[in-house]
């Protein structure tokens, strides 16, 4: 199976998929391409369920339960995470496609509601000079700011994901270790999942003709590495780890803090936990 690893890297998952596809194609005498794809997917599921090695042979997805922590009080809005994510995952470098982004909330004296923007705001793009360079401008320098903070956002890898629920073909699915992936070889590109995500975490990848989203760098975490955004965060505002490991940083983060999730009323049950949210954050 090919998961959402568009960095065009070779990976064993993709080779597996090709092998299965070839077998299915050979078997589907007189059948069309869609039938071959269907057979390939059926075979994929078998791989996923019967064997425990996915996406690589030495990785057992049943032994892990990944989770993510965001300490918004630490985030300094440097946007290295955004840049690292785009580079690592080959996301289009414009102001409309993000697997992760950072929001800025600013309370100005005398105002009840926070002013919110992200680095894709036209003023911030003007400040950076390019859609592919990420920056927050200094627009509040003459204002009296009473409170200001940054909130990193990304896919919440929900336990009850609306995106998975609505996918008409089952191309997007939740892995055994708790990450929502997209099978880009099977996605029809209807964008129902983009609509259904309450967090705006999904987008349409025009080049691939399919949906796209954060995978917590599944190609990295299954090799024992950290997601790119966590790796580059200079202030440890982003924490990632395995809930099955009692000594993991994520367990420590959850146990030592009072954590929140975004939009709990949706019933989606995110596995992305926040510290330092504010009433204005949605």
């Amino acid at each position: 199976m090919s998961v959402t690893q568009e960095s065009k890297k070779e990976n064993i998952g993709r080779r597996d998929f090709l092998r299965v596809s070839a077998k299915a194609l050979a078997g589907a005498v007189g059948g069309g391409a869609v039938f071959a794809e269907s057979a390939a997917q059926g075979k994929d599921n078998e791989v996923g369920n019967a064997a425990t090695s996915f996406p690589t042979e030495d990785y057992d997805w049943k032994k892990h339960r990944w989770a993510y922590g965001i300490d918004a009080t630490r985030c300094i809005g440097c946007l290295r995470c955004v840049e690292a994510c785009k580079t690592e995952n080959g996301v289009a470098k414009d102001a409309h496609h993000f697997r992760t982004w950072v929001e800025r909330y600013v309370y100005v004296e005398g105002e009840e509601r926070a002013r919110v923007d992200s680095h894709s705001d036209p003023q911030n793009i003007a400040a950076s000079g390019s859609e592919s360079e990420y920056r927050f401008d200094n627009r509040y320098k003459d204002e009296k700011v009473t409170k200001a903070f940054f909130v990193p956002k990304m896919c919440n890898q929900c336990q009850h994901p609306s995106c998975v629920q609505v996918c008409p073909v089952g191309a997007t699915f939740r892995t055994e270790d708790g990450v929502i992936l997209i099978d880009k070889t099977y996605c029809i590109g209807c964008e129902y999942c983009v609509q259904a995500c309450p967090y705006g975490a999904r987008f349409f990848d025009e080049e691939a003709g399919t949906s796209d989203k954060c995978t917590w760098c599944y190609h990295r975490i299954t090799k024992g590495l950290q997601p790119a955004c966590v790796e580059v965060c200079p202030v440890e505002a982003r924490i990632f780890g395995d809930l099955n490991d009692p000594s993991s940083t994520i367990n420590e983060f959850i146990h030592k803090n009072r954590v929140h999730v975004l939009k709990p009323e949706t019933g989606n049950a995110p596995t992305c936990f926040y510290v330092g949210l504010d009433k204005e954050v949605s």
Partner: protein, 393 residues
Amino acid sequence: MEMLVTAPYTGYVYPNETIIPWTLLIAIYPYLTGLVAGAFTVSSMHHAFGMERFKPVARFALLTSLSCMVFVPLPLILHLGHPERAMNAMITPHVSSAFAMFGFFAAFYMVLLALECWFVFRVDNVARAQSSTGLLRTFYRAITLWSDDVSANAREYDRKWLLALAIIGIPGAHGLHGYVGFVYGSLKSREWWGSDLMPVIFIFSAVISGMALCIVLYIFAAKVRRIKIDFACLKGMTYVLWGFMMFALLLEALGFANLVYKGKEGIEIIIEYVSGPLFVRYFVVQFGFGALLPIMIIGGMIARDTRGKAFIIGLTISSLLVLISVFMMRWNVVIGGQEISKTMKGLLTYIPPLYGRQGILAGTAVMIAPFLLLWLLTRLFPPWRDMSPEELK
């Protein structure tokens, strides 16, 4: 790869929202489905409920329904990132998806419509096969499946089938359309869509759009064919249109009142939206000119017992307004829902491109296509059952 069409916005919206996912094609899709259900209702008035006054338009309405149904999947397929994988939804349907069953429902309904047409036109086609020559004869013979039995027994058999098909067809047509409403109404990510009333609103608006379309097309066809319009038939359709319009308007108003009265988080942005960018589209076009005005015009004509040319002009204008209103409703639901940001802190503006697979030209072509097919079908299978001059008196 098509050029990116980005949406300007105010306030704060999630960065990924700046490209509107569901374009005008997805607004056309429920519009076409609604016309299918509505036109089928017109034909069922005669075929299922035995209302004789609908007889002159019943077969034509059935062809209208079929013509629209053929093109229902087209806007959906055109919108897909991978149209060649469209059948995946039927080969491996993901049953938890509100959309997974669409292909099956649509296919079932398509077969039902085709079957009903076959029985309705069977006797005519047998006669045409016998009176024509050459290729045309082969065509009609093939269409009748080489059967030329038009005995009283066979006709009785046809009648039973027709009744059964019409009875299945009514819940089928409305189920299909209510289902389309559910596709939007079941999404919890958008406050503008997440209404339990959505499927019901869709059904009522479907009936009025199909009824209005049949009225306009019937009047248009009668003018082109230079035949006298069957007033009883027209008046029958007018009553149904009028009655259903009142229900449709009431339901929509209720839906909106619910949303505002509950005043859940983010209501400020909804109020800002409906009183700003949506005001003309929603209150003026959809409700004012598209619903209230036709209800008043038709109501006035019924009260004053208007007849003749004045009635036909009044009814044509009203029906066209209804058609515009229902299209506006589809637009305001599908596009409107996406113009309110999921942050509930900002508003986007969808500007459809002129060219491209999802542009205005492509959308217009999808909208015109059913009528070209309808024209062809009415040439191949003339649906008219004109009353004799005596009957018209």
